[in-house]
Symmetry: C2
Subunit: 159 residues, 2 copies
């Protein structure tokens, strides 16, 4: 594997992952009504770190293969939606606006999983935990909208 | 050009561009000390819309070419840093933390410009306005840090 190429993809995941550190969960997240099956807090950074490493690995493997155009387009799409979701959910505290972003992320990850799989088995497998986790995250986002109907987004412009 | 491929890249830019609509500039930005050469407000959405269209065009042209691995890795890196900058600057109002993100963005756009140019003249040219604009934005970010030394970031966790 081309390690410099891996590092560029990893830098992209670092930008997306930085949102998790910069937009902290804190008291606001604690007081939200959550479904019983919400994963424990400690699992989120562990899952995301593993997923970011796996997706950089998959990207670096597939980028050098012929016919990787769609795989690369979906890779780029998923990292952009990934970077957007956290600031909208934890920054703007906008549970509802997070839903279409999550939908875009799910579609991008689904597309990336299929297109990587078609070119390279290991790259395809590397996307499976991501697709699983994003499906859980989407279900969690939907459940939180339902369980917190009175939750108002933060109005940054009034601060 | 493969238009479906173009649309996937465009969807990625849409996620990054959505930050501009969701994290509005407003009163806080108005009261910041800005250098005399700050571009007028109306120019920002016009410039970004053009740049997003051009980068989707460049991505779709280059993705299908052999040897596009580095171009695609830099494309993915730039869109992730692009999506991150606005929430940190306008959401967290963290002028200082925006600087390393802007540095990462500049490096990614520079890398994308070079690698796209090597494969396709039009794709390379399509990245030139972006590189120019990001250089202006970086200079503006630096100037704003200098001109607003007492500006405190928003502490979301206390809200």
């Amino acid at each position: 594997m081309d390690w410099f190429l891996f590092c560029i993809f990893l830098a992209a995941t670092f930008a997306a992952g930085a949102t998790g550190a910069m937009f902290p969960t804190g008291e606001w997240y604690k007081q939200l009504n959550k479904p019983s099956w919400t994963p424990p807090n400690w699992l989120f950074p562990v899952a995301w770190t593993s997923i970011y490493l796996l997706m950089a690995f998959a990207g670096a493997r597939v980028a050098v293969l012929e016919g990787s155009a769609y795989a690369m387009a979906f890779w780029a799409m998923q990292i952009a939606f990934n970077a957007l979701w956290t600031p909208v959910f934890f920054g703007l505290r906008n549970l509802r606006a997070s839903l279409p972003i999550m939908a875009g992320l799910w579609i991008a990850v689904f597309g990336a999983t299929i297109t990587h799989w078609q070119l390279d088995l290991w790259a395809g497998l590397a996307f499976v935990p991501y697709l699983t986790w994003v499906s859980v995250a989407a279900a969690l986002n939907i459940a939180m909208v339902r369980l917190n109907p009175d939750q108002k987004p933060l109005r940054l412009e009034t601060l």
